[in-house]
């Protein structure tokens, strides 16, 4: 039977098929899914997170690792019952770029890296009006709402989203994180956001802090 170490290694090296094979072989060996995830998949991904932070691993490699982990989760998750599952996610994130702004990469990158960091992420795209953010928070009930904006004309709309959340009585139900090249901590404070991050690595750290 394959080992947890091998499973971790396959996540780290981003080998989806191998992860699938090992996960199945562990299941065949009678090991419980709720053990395979925290002992095989998550530790592998946590090594990946560490290596990304130190610059040893590159973004596409991290994305491949996350995809490999997800292949494992796809097999294992349906076999787990009840709220054991939500315990394993670092939290739920909805992320998007505000209305009038089509800058896409920064937001997507943060989303992908959060996913790699164990979060369940819903990327609702670019040019997103405030009411769509509110709708998404209502429906998806995320722990964190991520707002991205890069333009002087669109950055003020982040505040509008926060106001809209307040009007819908959702503001205290979700942490709001903001980012985008021209955004600063001072700006984030001034609009009452809960966190700001300058890049994807620190975004994952800050998100984890918000969850703790």
């Amino acid at each position: 039977m394959a080992s947890y170490e091998e499973l971790q290694e396959s996540v780290i090296t981003g080998q989806k098929d191998k992860v699938e094979g090992i996960a199945n072989s562990l299941l065949d060996g009678g090991i419980k899914p709720r053990e395979i995830i925290p002992k095989g998949l998550l530790p592998g991904m946590s090594v990946v997170g560490q290596r990304f932070k130190t610059g040893e691993m590159f973004i596409p490699e991290v994305i491949a690792s996350a995809a490999a982990m997800n292949r494992g989760l796809e097999i294992l998750k349906p076999l787990i019952v009840g709220n054991e599952l939500s315990d394993m996610s670092a939290g739920k994130v909805v992320i998007g770029t505000v209305q009038g702004d089509v800058h896409n990469i920064g937001k997507s990158l943060v989303g992908m890296m959060m996913e790699s960091g164990g979060f369940t992420v819903m990327d609702i795209g670019i040019d997103v009006p405030a009411d769509k953010f509110v709708e998404a928070v209502e429906e998806e009930k995320p722990n964190i709402l991520g707002l991205s904006a890069l333009l002087t004309t669109t950055i003020p709309l982040m505040k509008d989203v926060i106001e809209a959340l307040k009007r819908s009585n959702l503001r205290d139900k979700v942490h709001v994180m903001v980012g985008g090249a021209p955004i600063t901590q001072e700006f984030a404070d001034s609009i009452g956001a809960d966190a700001y991050a300058a890049d994807a690595v620190s975004a994952v750290d800050k998100a984890k802090q918000l969850m703790s």
């Binding site: 973004i59 596409p60 920064g106 002087t152």
Partner: protein, 482 residues
């Protein structure tokens, strides 16, 4: 045109392959254009438009015909004071290039406090005045002003520019709503719509959203500029590995496809619209996720695209030729700036953009502008190459000079002795004198020069009625947009 130095980056065969693939892609797969009015015009002019999914395909014969009548040369205009115009012929008559400043920066590196802060109206006015006296700067692009409402920041910037420089202005609109006001301001200064068309004192950029998408705001810019005869910088900002293929060649191909689509659209909308093809390049740093402007791969990509467009489409080009990923003027900014400008100029780019910029175009700094102004002169001198003729060969001088003698007293030396490029920013003195004069490094020398220049800066004198009209336009914009 004079023979200036040219770097050939691609082979004829490679250029042919890329060109074929551009036509093949645009005629069979097409691009997405999110602008109903443009879609209608394109359909009327023979493009295959699918209105459901906003896909446009351009038949090969339409592309080839359009390329034939796309202007290969045109002029930008600047002024010496309010009414005295001068022409900047594109391509440069001496085979050189023009220099534009950094566009859109949001941050001002305050050199007195060494802090980073929002760009203010006052910074913008001084910046414009500084460009006015910087002889290497031909085209003035404005920053993003932070101490006015965001909706009208670009309108403030253009107005502030007209009040403080008479040079040609590069417009980067911030929204579809502000574009009309930017044109109105330009007409006010040009005197009339006809004047603006005849001697455009402004030009503007319209971007693709790489990959292969053209959003309403950018198409609006294209439409309005084409109608007013305002020359267009057509471009995208591909980030290799993120919005474009990770390979240099793949990004060259993708941006060529987008460039060609933009050119064809501009000409179908208004035949004869003067356009530049932009070949900006960013590379996504795969470890940090930051967009890099002066990575070696970004520079190589710009060079390849410049060469490709010149050979394949013969349309004037523009790209980043100044700028750096460094956050302050330092050793890296000097290396980055020297490499990108020199190489991109040698590859044949007509307008080099980005002077005064730091942090991948997010920040401006006046000392960096002083340095880039000097770089412009160096790049031009090198690009001009070596002239060989009877006079420069100095045959008689050599013939007449006895072995062991010197040339210092020759009339030929006297005649040419002021021709060498001689920047006061570079050390020319022996060490003892340099030490005695304070032992200043390059940055401090540039800073001194900035402080010196600052004393003589002053705004433009605009006729009262023009100033009034501009104030009125800004007021209206504030009422409608804020």
């Amino acid at each position: 045109m004079v023979n200036s130095l040219e770097l050939k980056v691609l082979t004829q065969e490679e250029i042919g392959t890329i060109r074929d693939k551009c036509l093949e892609f645009l005629s069979t797969k097409g691009v997405k254009v999110e602008h109903p009015e443009v879609l209608k015009t394109l359909a009327r002019e023979g493009a295959q438009v699918s209105f459901d999914d906003q896909t446009v395909r351009f038949p090969k014969d339409i592309i080839e015909t359009t390329l034939r009548y796309t202007p290969k040369s045109f002029s930008l205009w600047g002024r010496r004071n309010y009414s005295e115009y001068y022409e900047m012929a594109i391509p440069h008559p001496d085979g050189l290039f023009y220099t534009a400043t950094n566009t859109g920066a949001v941050t001002y590196h305050d050199i007195d406090s060494n802090t980073f802060r929002d760009v203010t109206v006052a910074d913008t006015a001084e910046w414009a005045q500084l460009m006015e006296v910087s002889e290497g700067i031909d085209i003035c692009a404005f920053p993003t002003i932070g101490d006015v409402p965001g909706e009208v920041a670009d309108i403030y910037a253009l107005k502030t520019y007209f009040e403080n420089t008479a040079k040609h202005v590069w417009i980067q609109p911030h929204s579809a709503e502000s574009m009309g006001y930017l044109i109105e301001l330009s007409i006010a200064v040009a005197g009339s719509k006809e004047n603006l068309k005849k001697r455009p004192i402004v030009s503007a950029c319209s971007n693709s959203v790489t990959p292969l998408q053209f959003v309403p705001m950018e198409m609006n810019t294209l439409l309005q500029c084409a109608r007013h005869g305002v020359p267009l910088y057509l471009c995208g900002l591909p980030s290799t590995g993120a919005t474009s293929p990770i390979t240099i060649a793949g990004t060259v191909l993708l941006s060529a496809i987008e460039n060609l689509a933009q050119v064809v659209m501009s000409q179908l909308i208004e035949p004869g619209t003067p356009v530049f093809c932009g070949h900006h390049r960013l590379t996504l740093d795969m470890a940090t996720g930051r967009s890099l402007l002066t990575s070696v791969e970004a520079i190589l990509g710009e060079m390849a695209s410049a060469h490709f467009i010149e050979e394949a489409f013969q349309i004037p080009t523009f790209a980043w030729g100044y700028g750096t990923d460094s956050h302050i003027p330092d050793e890296q900014s000097m290396i980055d700036g020297t490499l990108i400008g020199q190489l991109v100029a040698l590859a044949g780019t007509d307008v080099l953009e980005g002077a005064g910029g730091l942090d991948a175009c997010l920040t401006i700094n006046p000392v960096q502008l002083i340095i880039d102004n000097i770089l412009a002169g160096i790049f031009k001198r090198i690009k001009a190459g070596v002239k060989v003729n009877d006079d420069t060969l100095a045959w008689e001088e050599i013939w007449d000079t006895a072995p062991g003698n010197n040339f210092l007293e020759r009339p030929h030396t006297l005649k040419h002795c002021r021709e060498a490029l001689r920047s006061d920013l570079f050390v020319r003195d022996p060490r003892a004198i340099w030490v005695a004069e304070g032992g200043k490094d390059m940055y401090i020398r540039a800073l001194d020069k900035y402080k010196e220049l600052k004393k003589g800066l002053r705004p433009q004198q605009l006729p009262e009625d023009v100033q009034k009209e501009m104030n009125q336009i800004l007021k209206q914009a504030e009422e409608h947009l804020v």
